[in-house]
Symmetry: C2
Subunit: 340 residues, 2 copies
């Protein structure tokens, strides 16, 4: 059942039927009702391909997925996706993932924009002066950055959590508990979130005249194994830290394992605070010693990103609105006063 048939059936023109269906004003209310009614009764659904060709709108949001033999998709992604899906589901928005060589995403961005394959895109895990952000903003497609970039001479819309504030609070608590030597086991320090977290820790330390030793900050891909290695390295040195801030729960698994392997205890010998993105399958309260965390649901962020993208597509949201979510500091058993 296509528009033509429906129009014929109603003895109306395609124009009128189309307008009635799309809520244009220049059609009699009764006619509209008749049309709506018939459409529903016959299960008419406009062909999206045709509509897309005519309007250039696709009803999808896009994401360029960096891939490659050496590239692993972050497990956080799936939680983010859940959130995106939560919103998208109720709005018949689809998500198209365009896999791209991680080293050449530009081609793919250009392709999906030129082809009008999607109405909007989002960008995740941005870095300072991230080329994707400048690219996409010149390409002129609605977009939203999940996280923040930096160092541009223009503004852009984003949704981020207060990483600096979170780690500032975490570090401040540790300092208040008497810790003098903190360490930070961070994610890839080319990404903005990691930079912000480090900044937060440094700021908290500085406030008490302390510093973050050069060798007390690690920047690694966030795997259990890397958490383990970093911790071993940290704790086997002479000026071993007495407290660790850690950028992910998965790494924290490794931290806990390393501490135990060294015959040390949490929080007796070392206090630990990690960032928790709220996974349903791994909870900080269930660690052998319940883990203190800075908590922010990445799933909720996903839903919000979808919501804002939808708003931008329909013109309800405009401009370079930045949105920063506060982060909860949840104190559990993994922190204690510094050992004597």
């Amino acid at each position: 059942m296509n528009l033509k048939q429906l129009a014929q059936m109603l003895a109306l023109s395609q124009t009128t039927v189309s307008r009635a269906l799309n809520g244009y004003p220049e059609v009699n209310e009764e006619t509209r009702r008749r049309v709506m009614d018939a459409a529903k009764r016959h299960g008419y659904r406009p062909n999206p391909s045709a509509r897309r060709l005519a309007t250039g709108k696709s009803g999808m949001i896009g994401y360029v997925l960096p891939t490659g033999a050496t590239v692993d998709i972050d497990p956080h992604f799936v939680e983010f996706l859940s959130g995106l899906g939560d919103y998208a589901r109720s709005h018949e928005l689809d998500l198209v993932l365009s896999p791209a060589d991680a080293d050449d995403q530009e081609t793919t961005y250009r392709r999906i924009v030129a082809n009008r394959q999607v109405d909007a895109v989002y960008i995740s895990s941005p870095r300072p002066q991230d080329s994707r952000v400048s690219l996409v903003s010149t390409l002129g497609i609605p977009f939203l950055v999940h996280g923040r970039s930096e160092g541009f001479d223009f503004d852009y819309p984003y949704l981020d959590i207060d990483n600096e504030g979170a780690f500032h609070e975490a570090a401040r608590l540790l300092v208040q508990l008497g810790h003098r030597r903190l360490a930070l086991i961070n994610g890839d320090d080319r990404e903005t979130f990691a930079i912000h977290r480090e900044r937060g820790v440094r700021r908290a330390l500085a406030a008490s005249g302390l510093t973050l030793g050069e060798r007390h900050v690690c920047s690694v891909v966030m795997t259990e194994e890397n958490g383990y290695r970093a911790t071993r390295r940290l704790l086997e040195e002479s000026d071993a830290p007495t407290a660790i801030a850690c950028s992910s729960l998965i790494m924290a698994l490794g931290v806990v394992r390393a501490v135990r392997d060294l015959g040390l205890t949490i929080p007796g010998d070392v206090s630990l605070i990690a960032h928790d993105d709220v996974f349903p399958w791994l909870k900080p309260e269930n660690f052998s010693v319940p883990l203190s965390t800075t908590r922010s649901s990445i799933r909720l962020a996903g839903a919000r990103v979808a919501e804002r993208l939808a708003a931008r597509i329909s013109g309800l949201e405009e401009g370079a609105r930045g949105e920063v979510w506060p982060v909860d500091l949840v104190v559990r058993g993994s922190v204690a006063g510094a050992p004597a």
Copy 2:
């Protein structure tokens, strides 16, 4: 730059240019070269919306993503996606995720098929007599099942791993080591993979005249917490098992924690074998006691699914071909002879 302009520029008809580009035989080789050349030089890319409208092909593969407030996307999904992306990237295939209410996916399947939004779909985590499989096969769109369904009077194409064989081997090893009371901490037993794994364990036990006690098999969502709870329950009973087979590494984390909490050791008091889907961020060899596993890369499976879907789309693959991958049994420190 569109077809019309390109044709004009070459003083050829759109027909000829289109045919030259799409490899039809009825065009002179030299003409074809000229066309190809000009197309490349001017960066001509056929508009996918138009092509789609004309042909009904979209160049995308689809996945209906079950969502809902109580639905969590499995973290395995992201690894599978990595694999899918690995293949899709080099073939300019995009993946479209259509979020759907987990309790009503049919509507969404019908929509994406009716709308010809995608050229093929895949189905994951199937259950016996999974309604999605029968639906999709009547809808007549190319598809592939990742995993297996059962109990149909028709065949369908799938890619699965030998879950039964894997857990058979694992259980057999444990029995050979003298274990008489095994337990299985399994995933959702409405899903086929879980059923197959249980079957494998039972078969191995039966071969030695043993059985899997009713209360020695748990079926739970695969989270760390559930692994922990299941293990506590198992080990606190009078006829506690001396060996555990576990369906996921994440649950195994909980198993390990529970064993430790109870003051027991692996493998001294209890042997453990888990299934490893090969995550880059959590490796069995890095468990406090290196974990024996049945191993099968879900990422490779993703790539293969993409490959086969592409083949089905282009008509290179047909029929209900089932493909079952063998699973490696990797023995590490977490298994030992049964305690006396």
